[in-house]
Amino acid sequence: MKLKTKDGGWNPYFAGALVGILAIASVYATTALMGKTNYLGASTTFVRAVGFVEQVFASEHVAQNAYFAATKIKVDWQFMLVIGIFLGALISSLTDKSFKIEKVPPIWQERFGSSVTKRGVGAFLGGIVAMVGARLADGCPSGHGLSGMMQLSASSFVALALFFVAGALTAAIVYKRRAS
């Protein structure tokens, strides 16, 4: 088995196993430092981030909202984790020269053409639906897919299976026909 892939990346089994070690270290470190075990996740941060934005325009409304009250709008451990993910990917891609400005991805372009607007609307609407789903299911591919599965959470087995089945069915419909 090769340690490097054709595109200069690392073998996904190897990189994934390192994430497993990171997850273990993180579980230990958060417990030791914060007194509470924290597991990797990302989607709650979007609630906190939009809470900050809404506070500028309608602080009263945010204060009265039960979900924002339960989530607590603050720059916490996970918020910084999501910022760190951005920086980590930036550093990795710049140093191995895989950083690439891309406005429309190839699979999308084959199906819907090179319009940035179309891609933008698709990503935006998809993002809305996905986040409502992630908050309802209480996790995303990080929170359920990685952290929940590592803990053998019953809900994560169900959630991850449905993420994949619903995603595969939708992808089969959306990307099937090729644009001429």
């Binding site: 451990w77 990795s92 991805p105 891609r119 698709g122 986040m131 952290s147 929940g148 169900v158 992808a171």
Partner: protein, 176 residues
């Protein structure tokens, strides 16, 4: 920055670095997996889970850390899971990888991020409605598979390993 924030930032840096090196954050890889043409993200995720679950349960059994199961709330997990899957296929990113994709120059991820922020705001507004309907249907609580099946987690973990390694051989055989 507080210690908590610094720890989060460093953990995220390594996490983002490894995801980028694994080449799992691109639209191509996410949609490739959903079209069952390129299973890179599943090789990556399952490898992380296999390694992680052993350490997580050793630390837990030693009484060092606690578990943090998400509730097995049937209505919420089923409807939420389906909605996420639909949105994921169109967006081509998930919450964590959208942040990483921006980092490697995939500018269209910004629309995904904006959409997810709006989605979070919509969810906050709909929260009272969801709480009184789908969330109220059937909640089995914060349980693991060991609780659901009534067997030790150290029985489930080797079975999980065997199943995942079987899948890996299948992926490699089919060239996925």
């Amino acid at each position: 920055m507080s210690n908590e924030q610094i720890l989060g930032l460093i953990t995220g840096l390594v996490f983002g670095f490894l995801m980028q090196k694994g080449r799992v954050i691109r639209f191509e890889k996410q949609i490739g997996a959903l079209l069952i043409k390129d299973m890179t993200i599943f090789k990556f995720m399952l490898s992380a889970i296999l390694v992680g679950m052993v350490g997580v349960y050793i630390l837990y059994d030693m009484g060092i850390t606690t578990l943090s199961h998400k509730p097995m709330n049937v209505g919420a997990v089923v409807i939420g899971g389906i909605l996420f899957g639909i949105g994921w296929a169109v967006m081509g990113f998930c919450p964590g990888t959208s942040s990483a994709a921006l980092g490697e120059g995939r500018l269209h991820a910004i629309f995904a991020v904006l959409g997810m922020l709006v989605g979070a705001a919509i969810f906050a507004e709909l929260y009272p409605f969801f709480s009184s309907t789908v969330v109220a249907w059937q909640d089995f609580g914060k349980i693991g598979m060991q609780d659901a099946l009534g067997i030790s987690h150290w029985v489930i973990i080797p079975i999980f390993w065997a199943a995942a390694i079987g899948l890996f051989f299948l992926f490699e055989k089919k060239g996925l």
